[in-house]
Chain length 197, copies 4
DNA sequence: TATGAATGAGGGTTCATTCAT
DNA sequence: AATGAATGAACCCTCATTCAT
C-alpha cells in the first residue's frame, strides 16, 4: 500500500526531473510528465496539488540530502594533499545530480519563494560548511587569510565551470581522461594559481 | 524610414531583454514586451515573426558585438602585472551585460537552434580569444603550460561565481567595496592560488 | 444486512443534503459527500450509480413524506381561529426542512427529470391539499371565493418570504422573537390584510 | 471603436444571461457562452477576466438599474386606490427581468461576495424604498402599524409566488387573463386579507 | 461491502499569432 | 507602419466514475 504510493510519487518525480532538465519547467507539460511516468494526467495531481509542487518536491531536503551529506564529510579531511581527491569526489557527486541542479538553478531565478526554499538548504548550509573548512586552513596558516565565504564562492565557481563545460560549451573529445585533467587543474589553480612558482 | 524601423526594432529588443532577464523567456508575454516597448500587441510581430525570433535576435552578432569587442582587446595587454586590472575591467563589463548573459545562458539550455547561434558567437570566439592569450603567456613562461582552453574555462567559472553571488546566493552587505575585494581575490587566486607562497 | 445497507445509504443522503444546501449541487464533490458520510470516495457509488441520483433520491417519496404528512393534517383543523396556530406550526416545520427545500427548489430549475420527480410529489399533492382546505373555507363563507389555487400560491409565497429573509436578505437581530412576530404578521395579513378594519 | 467594443461585451452578457438562466452558472460553459455570442472562447476573456466576473457584471448597478428606477418612483403615488396598478406594474417589470433575477438569486446562495455585491443594491435600496412607502401609510393611519420591513418582505414574498408559479409550479392554462386575476388577488389579500369583511 | 488509486473528459484560462482597419 | 479585437490551440487542474484488491 505504502509501497505502491511511494512508487507512483517517485515515478512522477523521476519523470518530472528528466523532463524539466531537458525542456525547463514551463516547457514541460503536466501531460508529458504523466505520460513519461506511465500515468494518466489526472494522477499527477493526486500526488502534487500543483505543477509547482513537483518542482519544490524535487528540491526538498530529501532530494538535496545527498548533496548535503557529501559536503558534510569535507572537514574530516585534514591533509592538504587530500584536497584534490576531495574536490574530485565532490565534483563527481555534483555531476551525478547535474539534472537536478540544472533545474533548481534555472528555476530559482524566477520563483522567489522557491529560491528561498532551496537556498536555506544548499546555500547557507553547504556554503557554510565549506567556508568553515577554509577558515580552519587559514588559521593554520596554510591558506592566506581572506574572507572564507569569498574563497568558497570562487571555488564553487570553478566547479561551475565544469558544469558549464558539460552543458553549454562542450569541449571536443572531452572524455573521462580529460575530465580528470580538468579537475586536476581546478585544484592546482585554486591552491597555487596559474603562474609559475 | 530605416531610422524609425531600426528604432522600433531595437526598442522591442531592449524591452524583451529586460523582461526576459527578470521573468524568463516563457514567463514573459508578447503583450508585456509590446507594452514595455511602447507599442500595441500586434506591432511586435511586424518586426519578429515569432516570439522566439526575439530571443534569437538578442544573440545575433551585432547584439553580442559589445561582448566580443571587449574580449578582443584582451591580448593587446602585455604586462603580466596588468592582468588584475584587465580582468577586473572585463568583469565589470560583463556585469554590465549581466542581463543578456543571464538570458542567453538560461535559454540556451532549452532551444537547440538558439544554442548554436550563440555559441558560434560567444563560445568559440570569445573562449578562443582568451585561450590565445593564455597560450601566449604559457609560451613566454609566465604561466604554467596546461591546456589553455581548460585554463580559460576555469577563469570563466570564477567569473561566473560572481554572477551566482549576485543572482542566486546573495551575500549580506555586498556593496561596491566588497565587490572590488571579490574581484581582487579572483585575480589573485587565479594567478597565485590560495596557499601562502 | 438490509439494516446496514439502509444506514449507509441514509448517511450518504444526509451528508449530501447538508452539503448541497451549503454549496449547491455542482459545488459539492462526491469526495466531500463521502468524507462527510464517513466513507471512502468509491463507496458512494455502491449506493448511487450517479451523483445526480443522490439528488433525485433526496426528493423521493419517502424523503418528502415528512413534508407531505404535515400538510395532510391541515384540513382536519376546523376552527378559523386556529388558522394562525396551524400556519405557524407549518412554517416552523418547513423551516426545519429548510435545507431540503432549498436544494430542491434550486436544483429543480436545471434538472428537467428532477423537476418532474419533485413536483408530482410536493407540487401537485401539497398544493392540492392546501387548496382543498381553502375551498372548504370558501364554501363555508369564511373566505371570499377566489381561485383556491391562487390563494394557496399566494400563501406559499408569503412563507417563501421567510425563507428569503433567512437566506438572502437577512434582517438585523432576527432572533426567535422577531421570527414569531414575522409569522404572526403573515397570518394576519393573509386573513385580514394590512389595512385597518 | 467604442461602438464595437460595447457591442461585443454586451453580446457576451446577453448570451451569458440566457445560458445561465437555462442551465445555471456552473452548468454553463465559457465555450458555450462564446459560441452563443458568436465569438471564440478566448474572446470572452478579453472582456471578463473571469467567468465569475460575467455573473457579477450581470448584477451590476447597470443591470439592476431598471428595477431600482421603477421602485424609486413608488412613493410618488399617493392614493391608496393606486396600489394595485403600481404593484401590477412592478410585477410586470420583474417578470421582464425574470431571467436575471433567477440567476442572481440562485447564485447568491453560494457566493458570499456576490451576495454582498448584489444586495447592497437590490436589498438595502429597494427594500428600503418600499418600506419607506409602507411607513408613510402607517403614519397616515391607512395601514396598521407593524414593522414596515416585515410588511415589505411579506409583500415581496407574494410577488415571489408569481415567479414560482411561472418557473417551478406552472398552473394550467395560465394565460394573460389569469395572470391579471392573480395580481388582483395579491393586492386584495395584502390590503384586506382573505376573510370576508 | 468497502477502499482509494487511477482515469480522462472537460472546464476555465492564457497567450502567441492573425488580420481587418 | 501601427493597432487591438479576435482567435483557438494548449495549458493546468478538477472531479465523477471505474475497478482491482
Amino acid at each position: 500500500m505504502s509501497e505502491t504510493k511511494k512508487d507512483s510519487r517517485q515515478m512522477i518525480l523521476d519523470a518530472a526531473l528528466s523532463l524539466f532538465s531537458q525542456k525547463g519547467f514551463s516547457g514541460t507539460t503536466t501531460k508529458e510528465i504523466a505520460k513519461e511516468a506511465g500515468f494518466a494526467e489526472g494522477t499527477v495531481f493526486r500526488y502534487f496539488p500543483t505543477k509547482k509542487d513537483i518542482l519544490i518536491a524535487l528540491a526538498e531536503p530529501h532530494a538535496v540530502a545527498g548533496l548535503k551529506r557529501v559536503m558534510n564529510s569535507l572537514p574530516n579531511q585534514d591533509e592538504e594533499s587530500n584536497l584534490r581527491a576531495i574536490l574530485e569526489n565532490r565534483l563527481v557527486t555534483i555531476a551525478q545530480n547535474k539534472d537536478l541542479l540544472k533545474v533548481i538553478f534555472t528555476e530559482a531565478q524566477y520563483h522567489e519563494d522557491f529560491r528561498k526554499e532551496v537556498f536555506d538548504n544548499i546555500g547557507t548550509h553547504v556554503l557554510g560548511t565549506v567556508a568553515g573548512y577554509m577558515e580552519k586552513r587559514m588559521e593554520t596558516g596554510i591558506f592566506r587569510s581572506i574572507d572564507p565565504i569569498v574563497a568558497t564562492r570562487i571555488l564553487v565557481g570553478m566547479m561551475l565551470s565544469l558544469l558549464v563545460t558539460e552543458n553549454f560549451l562542450p569541449m571536443k573529445d572531452f572524455d573521462q581522461e580529460k575530465r580528470q585533467g580538468y579537475l586536476d587543474e581546478i585544484v592546482h589553480i585554486f591552491l597555487y594559481g596559474l603562474t609559475k612558482r
